[in-house]
């Protein structure tokens, strides 16, 4: 039963890294603006298709395709922030939820019309063998996923906890009015954080495209996965969410990988396990695994 455990742990780390990149941006915007971006998974999907467009349809090499994708995602991010998010932040808290649902639906429809509804994948360069280390098989791409997740999240940690700009982000997240009265430019902070969030989503989408495949309808389920990571870690808790993403990867892979006395679950159930985990956390520990219970006034 346990001889495949190291491989499962490696797989969990790979899945968890992608989820961590996807949910890091989501939790940052939630911490600042207190709204759930339902279109976050759809933005991942758009990132993957934009990269597909430049690298496959236009045969650009990696660096220019990546640069153009980041540029497009930043542009899309600023439009989304101006049109779909900011006008709705002052009213009822249901409003931004509904507008981002509409946004996700619009993005899905536009990409389906442009690229068709079929499954696509980003092609890897041929001739790359997967490596073996003590019985664990891992491809160079998967090593890249893990390393890039570690690097990007470390850079994010440095930005938030070690720089003056990061202190301003934390100040706005903690108490927006007080921060503004001390001269922090809230629109600048919100703009930068939202763009970082959208670009991270796009990057995670490209990784998904290389690791598995892409489809216009994939957005919804990745939104839910990112919510799941956030709920596990506690809404608005950045490092809790990153840990939640890794736990989510672990739950998904272990639930279908391990066989319990000759009985193992089919692979399709791993999503169900992820969602059941959210429900269990919401019921028994609503502040998340790493959060502290907040008192309402």
């Amino acid at each position: 039963m346990f001889d495949i455990l190291p491989q499962l742990l490696a797989n969990s780390l790979i899945t968890g890294s992608i989820y961590a990149l996807a949910s890091a941006g989501l939790v940052l915007t939630f911490a600042l603006l207190r709204f759930l971006n339902f279109a976050h998974g759809h933005l991942m999907m758009v990132g993957a298709y934009t990269f597909f467009y430049f690298s496959v349809a236009h045969h650009l090499s990696l660096a220019p395709a990546a640069g153009l994708t980041i540029l497009c995602m930043a542009l899309l991010g600023s439009i989304v922030l101006r049109v779909f998010v900011q006008p709705f932040l002052t009213g009822n808290s249901l409003l931004p939820l509904v507008t981002t649902i509409a946004l996700g639906s619009i993005l899905e429809a536009v990409i389906s019309i442009q690229f068709g509804v079929n499954v696509r994948s980003l092609p890897l360069q041929s001739g790359i063998e997967s490596l073996e280390w003590r019985g664990i098989f891992i491809t160079p791409l998967q090593i890249f996923i893990i390393v890039s997740a570690i690097l990007i999240l470390s850079a994010l940690a440095f930005l938030i906890h070690q720089t003056g700009f990061g202190r301003r982000i934390r100040a706005v997240a903690e108490n927006s009015a007080a921060a503004e009265s001390l001269g922090v430019s809230r629109p600048l902070i919100v703009g930068v954080v939202f763009l970082v969030s959208v670009i991270l989503a796009g990057f995670a989408g490209v990784l998904v495209g290389y690791e598995t495949n892409i489809q216009p309808t994939m957005g919804g389920s990745y939104s839910i996965k990112a919510f799941a990571a956030m709920v596990l870690g506690g809404l608005g808790n950045i490092w809790g969410t990153v840990a939640g993403a890794l736990i989510l990867g672990l739950v998904e892979n272990l639930s279908i990988g391990l066989d319990f006395g000759g009985y193992s679950l089919p692979a399709g159930y791993k999503d169900a396990f992820a969602f059941l985990t959210i429900l269990a956390i919401l019921l028994f520990r609503p502040q998340g695994l790493f959060g502290t219970r907040q008192r309402t006034t």
Partner: protein, 298 residues
């Protein structure tokens, strides 16, 4: 030639009427929880699926008669809502939305993966049309007549619910919970009732849907379908009885002219989705100050 054209158009009109009826039941029942109760219920489509699969399984495996299937669907969906309510009603705001979404995702994952029961993505084919009073319900026009009875009955029932003390209590809870509590209203009980009726309505719609198409698969109960029902309620103004009826008819018919344009059928679905989503966003933009009233202050 003109006769053939007439035959096609009439079958087509009947199909549109059946769709309108189906969505009238679905949207009006969501209006009870989402509109009146201001509960951001994203699991409505799961109730719809539970109703449809209950009928499909009973009608094909057990060959149960029509009334048994419909009643079973309504009750199963209703009880399903109590299970959902037991979890979701303990949550508020964003957590409520995430909780119902997660619940709905568990259901759709079961529909796809529990192959021994639901046949997975292949779906359940061969659901026979009901056998009632010797009427030939395989004719769509006759099925439409049967459907209209159910639509009228549910719309009247929902109208009565909206104007009943229960409806007013539900509305009051959404506007100012503490005041309703102070007047001795049992929050949990009222919201559970709302969930039950709303979900039972979706179950009925699911049952009729399964009979009408005679084939169901998980793709009919996707997140996209949920977004469409939500769009109807929002465009019709949440909590407004007549608004939702008007919006249902408008939104079901709106993308139909696309069929007569020379568009590749692969683009029809996404084009319809684009129209609906853009309309949803425009309405929310236009009505953003009044759509969801700020909670009342005393």
């Amino acid at each position: 030639m003109s006769l053939l054209f007439e035959a096609i158009t009439s079958e087509y009109t009947i199909h549109l009427c059946v769709l309108c009826g189906l969505y009238l039941i679905l949207a009006q029942s969501l209006n009870l929880t989402f509109g009146l109760g201001q509960l951001f219920n994203l699991a409505h489509v799961a109730s719809y699926a539970v109703g449809a699969y209950t009928t499909a399984l009973l009608a094909t495996e057990a060959e149960s008669p029509f009334w048994v299937c419909v009643t079973a669907s309504v009750l199963t969906s209703g009880v399903f809502a109590l299970l959902l309510g037991a979890i979701a009603l303990r949550l508020s705001n964003d957590y409520f939305a995430i909780g119902t979404l997660a619940f709905s995702s568990v259901v759709s994952s079961l529909l796809i993966n529990w192959r021994s029961v639901t046949h997975g993505v292949l779906g359940i084919p061969g659901i026979p049309r009901p056998d009632l009073l010797g009427a030939d319900l395989y004719q769509n026009s006759h099925f439409l007549a049967l459907m209209s009875i159910f639509v009228v009955v549910t719309q009247v029932l929902f109208y009565l619910l909206y104007s009943s003390p229960f409806g007013r209590a539900l509305r009051g809870l959404a506007e100012y919970e503490q005041a309703a509590l102070a007047l001795g209203r049992d929050t949990r009980l009222i919201r559970n009732f709302a969930f039950f009726f709303s979900s039972a309505g979706a179950g009925l719609a699911g049952s009729l849907f399964a009979y009408y198409l005679s084939y169901i698969d998980p793709s009919s109960f996707s997140l996209g379908e949920m977004v469409f029902i939500l769009t109807i309620v929002i465009v019709g103004r949440p909590g407004s009885y007549w608004g939702v009826i008007a919006a249902t008819i408008f939104l079901v018919l709106l993308p139909e002219p696309l069929r007569f344009l020379q568009i590749d059928s692969a683009y029809l679905g996404p084009a319809r989705q684009l129209i609906h989503a853009t309309l949803l966003f425009s309405v929310v933009w236009w009505k953003r100050r009044v759509l969801f009233p700020q909670q009342r202050q005393v």
